[in-house]
């Protein structure tokens, strides 16, 4: 048996986090499965849990200027229902599990779980989202892309808590999220793809492309994206095969119980090609 804590305030939570070696638990939907034991026995948490989902400071979602501040206690359903949530994130969140899970699972928890197949993470990469990490007396903001360092691995320190997720409100006029799951709903991802782009005067002003479940972390290349910036439709169209080739070297999926490496790679590239030829080109007309 381990000792768990239910702090009433964020301040108290941060103090407990510093004092004890604890696992922060927001929705708990990943942790409860991970540590599941025989029915009727306690889940086998290796350490005590720090319950944070009900902390009033972490509950809300608000639009602040050009940013959306999503509290670490906000559930996936909360995020999907918030009117200013960017489309790519809303679509990603609604593709996760089913209503009963989305009503408890949190966006911050999805990030901290750091699964390469985390559907919201794929969208957050494309949105240049950041997480706010607090410890008693200090705070730092880290881009999600830097926060996650490998499967299940993050830079979260033992005395820190993720308190919020910051999403820049997209200026994008093209926004796509596509999940290929093991079935049509309530499914885990074989792969996912997020794309946001801003087209101004027939020219690409900004673009971000992210691929989930095709590598140890979500795949995104700011460098390759830069090559597209300032390009007209005709220039993209004549370069499609080169862009696909460039991404092809970065997309290195594995075989597992859900799909094959070959399928993941080809479909990821098909989604990219389809985005470039259909959605992007369509948006540049």
């Amino acid at each position: 048996m381990v000792d768990s804590y239910k702090p009433a305030t964020l301040k108290e939570a941060l103090a407990l986090r510093k004092q004890h070696d604890l696992i922060p638990l927001a929705g708990g939907t990943d942790l409860m499965v991970k540590y599941q034991s025989w029915s009727g026995t306690l889940p086998r948490f290796p350490k005590g849990a720090l319950f944070i989902s009900r902390l009033p400071e972490l509950k809300g979602i608000e639009k602040r200027g050009e940013s959306l501040i999503i509290g670490a206690g906000a559930t996936l359903s909360d995020v999907a229902a918030f009117p200013d949530t960017p489309k790519v994130l809303r679509d990603a969140v609604l593709s996760i599990a089913a209503p009963g899970i989305r009503n408890i699972a949190t966006l911050a928890g999805n990030i901290c779980n750091a699964s390469p197949a985390g559907d919201s993470i794929c969208a957050l990469y494309a949105l240049d989202a950041s997480v706010v990490l607090q410890r008693t007396g200090s705070e730092r903001t880290v881009p999600v892309m830097k926060f996650i360092t490998g499967p299940g691995k993050t830079v979260l320190e033992g005395d820190e808590l993720v308190t919020a997720v910051i999403v820049l409100l997209e200026k994008a006029n093209i926004s796509i999220f596509k999940k290929v799951g093991t079935r049509k709903a309530n499914a885990l991802s074989k792969l996912s793809f997020s794309a946001v782009a801003e087209v101004k005067g027939g020219v690409i002003d900004g673009i971000a492309l992210a691929f989930g479940a095709v590598g140890p972390t979500v795949v995104r290349s700011v460098e390759l994206e830069k090559k597209c910036i300032g390009k007209k439709r005709s220039e993209i169209e004549s370069n499609i095969e080169e862009i696909v080739r460039d991404y092809s070297t970065m997309i290195v999926p594995i075989d597992d119980q859900r799909s094959s490496a070959e399928y993941r790679k080809q479909v990821a590239l098909n989604l990219l090609r389809n985005f470039l030829t259909e959605e992007l080109a369509g948006g540049m007309r």
Binding site: K178, A185, S260
Partner: protein, 710 residues
């Protein structure tokens, strides 16, 4: 137009279940309950060289083969009795029961289990049919790993192939399928009034009683099995419950205390029987006009580590091997192969779905070789009343396949669409035709089961019926009441029919093989007629009725020749699909079905059977991948072994064609398995048309579609 009996009524169990009042095995409370957990083999094939155990505190027990009473046997009676209650020095699959750890506190039981060390001398395992046939690691069974082989010959197939101008060949493969009944397996054993009593989520109380009696070494009458509300079964609770009940019984016999053995879901998917994987090679000999001269069918199924009921499954696969077709010359061969996977066992259809998948897909492929559309070609070979079957007797059913095709065509617009989609790379429509023999194969009902049913007048306008058949979701408690009520002129709610208790009910046989409505329902009908004539003798009057084989049927179990089944249900499915060209994902856009189940016993209950069976089969066809990796099922969580959700398939549109059967109650025939048989080949046929490539395997995953299109 509808028969009176077909008119839907409210199911007797609906409100109790919907409100959460119905009690399943985990919902019961027992005083002083102990919890058991299985110590399982971690190796697929090995000799056990030693077992080291921690000291067990008082009240905790390690139960194994040594606890079997000296009068008993360490063998489970499931057709064949080769499967052991507890492993005997060797293990043949991962998950094999070595012992039970039993005690009052689950945490402590888990801790004790984790401290037990089993040492093994490992041997080389064989997992696939090919590895089994090659006797990889040395034979596991006999000298060739073949549990059994059968050969059915009709006409002169050798001559047919000699005269062939062209031979079309294909090998069709199906995988493991998990039943995924929503309620996992579970039982509680107790010692009540000096009697070993088991409360079970199960299909066949008397099967369990027989197995347990043999293991404990007592007369069957000294064992009592009480079926409790069962949350789905689909064949998974036919024989497999014996694998739970027997070690549990050994524990209860020793401890004389209540013990619970309920599986968690992951345990259930990992360590219970699945549908037999199959590989079926079919060769068809064609003449110069592309007319079929003959067929050669070679069926192999993976039986896993113990034979149990595998040969009966194989027989049914072969007996349905030619599907609904009159093929003049045929050789149907079948072999069941021993491997080191979890033993395969009963699953809705019991071998028939595998045989039917192969013949249906093959016939579509032969049609295309012959330059014809599948339905046009298949219809030329429909078996008719009086035609010879694969077991060299005449087809005695009235066959209404043409009428059924017309109904399906009207509903689905198949004939137009199939032409339209011929050159559409993103759309396809598939069709399949099946039949399914109702009841036990051959003379099983007469020679082995010998069902008895009983009825009793219990009030002014009340009666009770006593059978061993169970409600497991299919609606039996409502249907049998309707049958009895109709004869007695009572309302169906005036008939009592409790969950069977082997101390109370006669043995009317197991709840399997689409027999409960057709066979047991008929016995109830006849028993109720008797009770009606004696109704005036007053409250307490009892009548009994014994099974009598329908006249004119002949069967030889040694040669598998004669009337394999007293009657067949018939079905056809049309499935329409679309492909996403970017992701190769398939979307099903239409499902139309036509079934001949004699007379439907209840329109709503049968609609539920049809939708449920068809969607379960579409899961099998499209997404229910279950691979073996190093001897374990790779998809062993509900997250990875995926079954259809409410959004995966559209509504099933169905019509019934009435075709009463003289020896079914009010004309009913078997239906529960039939509704599963046709959807998988129809789905694969649709994907075949869409891709323009032959499909040989299910599940047809997007990964496979991508590969086919390469």
């Amino acid at each position: 137009m509808s028969n009176k009996i077909s008119t839907a009524v409210r199911r007797v169990d609906a409100v109790e279940k919907a409100s959460g009042r119905a009690r399943y095995i985990s919902d019961y409370e027992f005083k002083g309950l102990l919890y058991a957990r299985v110590l399982r083999s971690e190796k697929p094939r090995a000799k056990i060289t030693g077992i080291s155990k921690p000291d067990f505190p008082e009240g905790y027990y390690y139960i194994d083969g040594k606890d079997i009473p000296s009068e008993g046997r360490n063998n489970i009676q499931m057709i064949k009795d080769d499967w052991h209650v507890f492993a005997e020095g060797e293990v043949r699959y991962i998950g094999e029961t070595i012992a039970l750890v039993v005690g009052p506190d689950k945490e402590k039981v888990l801790q004790l289990l984790s401290e037990i060390r089993v040492s093994y001398k490992e041997e080389e395992p064989a997992y696939t049919i090919a590895e089994g046939l090659a006797c990889k690691g040395g034979p596991l069974f006999g000298d060739d790993n073949i549990y059994g082989e059968y050969n059915l010959v009709k006409g002169n197939p050798e001559e047919a192939f000699k005269n062939a101008v062209k031979v079309v060949e294909g090998t069709y493969k199906t995988g493991f399928q998990e039943h995924l009944y929503m309620e996992p397996q579970g039982m509680v054993g107790t010692w009540e009034e000096g009697k070993l009593t088991i409360y079970a989520s199960a299909q066949c109380p008397f099967y369990i009683r027989k197995s347990v009696a043999g293991v404990i070494g007592v007369d069957e009458k000294n064992i009592r099995i009480k079926q409790v509300t069962t949350g789905g079964a689909f064949g998974g609770k036919e024989h497999f419950p014996d694998v739970i009940a027997t070690p549990l019984a050994v524990a209860v016999h020793k401890l004389k205390q209540p013990v619970e053995l309920v599986f968690d879901r992951i345990e259930d998917i990992s360590f219970t029987c699945k549908r037999h994987p199959s590989e079926i090679t079919i060769k068809t000999a064609l003449d110069k006009n592309n007319t079929i001269l003959g067929m050669d069918i070679d069926t192999r199924i993976n039986g896993g580590g113990y034979e149990s009921s595998t040969l009966i499954v194989l027989q049914r696969a072969l007996l349905h091997g030619l599907g609904v077709y009159n093929i003049p010359n045929a050789h149907v061969r079948g072999r069941a192969v021993a491997t080191n996977t979890f033993p395969s066992d009963a699953y809705r259809g019991f071998g028939a779905p595998q045989g039917l998948f192969a013949i249906e897909l093959h016939m579509s492929q032969v049609a295309r070789e012959a330059g014809m559309l599948p339905a046009d070609f298949k219809r030329k070979y429909f078996i008719k009343t009086g035609d010879m079957t694969v077991t060299n007797t005449t087809m005695k059913d009235v066959v209404k396949l043409e009428e059924m095709f017309k109904a399906a065509d009207d509903m689905s617009d198949y004939s137009r669409k199939v032409k339209e989609y011929e050159h559409d790379p993103l759309k396809g429509i598939g069709i399949s035709f099946v039949n399914h023999g109702g009841g036990f194969t051959g003379n099983g009902e007469q020679e082995i089961i010998k069902s008895v049913v009983k009825m009793k007048r219990t009030g002014e306008k009340k009666a009770a019926l006593y059978v061993s058949n169970v409600e497991m979701g299919q609606g039996l408690q409502t249907v049998l009441r309707k049958i009895a009520a109709q004869e007695l002129g009572l309302d169906y709610t005036d008939i009592d029919y409790d969950n069977p208790d082997t101390d109370i009910v006669p043995d009317s046989g197991p709840t399997v093989a689409s027999r409960s409505t057709m066979v047991v329902g008929y016995l109830i009908q006849e028993c109720a007629k008797k009770l009606k004539t004696r109704w005036d003798e007053g409250i307490g009057t009892e009548t009994e009725h014994h099974y009598v084989h329908p006249p004119g049927l002949v069967w030889n179990q040694d040669t598998l020749q004669g009337d394999a089944y007293p009657s067949y249900g018939w079905g056809l499915n049309v499935v329409e699909v679309e492909m996403d060209p970017v992701t190769f994902e398939i979307k099903t856009t239409g499902i139309w079905t036509v079934f001949d189940v004699g007379i439907p016993m209840d329109d709503t209950i049968m609609a539920g059977q049809v939708s449920g069976g068809v969607i379960q089969a579409l899961g099998y066809a499209s997404m229910e991948k279950c691979e073996v990796l190093d001897g374990r099922f790779r998809q062993h969580t509900m997250a990875d072994y995926v079954i259809p959700t409410s959004v995966d398939f559209p509504e099933v549109k169905n019509v019934f064609i009435e075709n009463p059967y003289a020896y079914g109650p009010s004309g009913a025939k078997g239906a529960g398995e039939l509704v599963f048989d046709a959807a998988a080949p129809a789905y694969a046929d649709a994907v075949q048309q869409l891709t323009g490539r032959n499909i040989y395997e299910i599940p047809v995953t997007p990964e496979m579609v991508m590969g086919a299109l390469k």
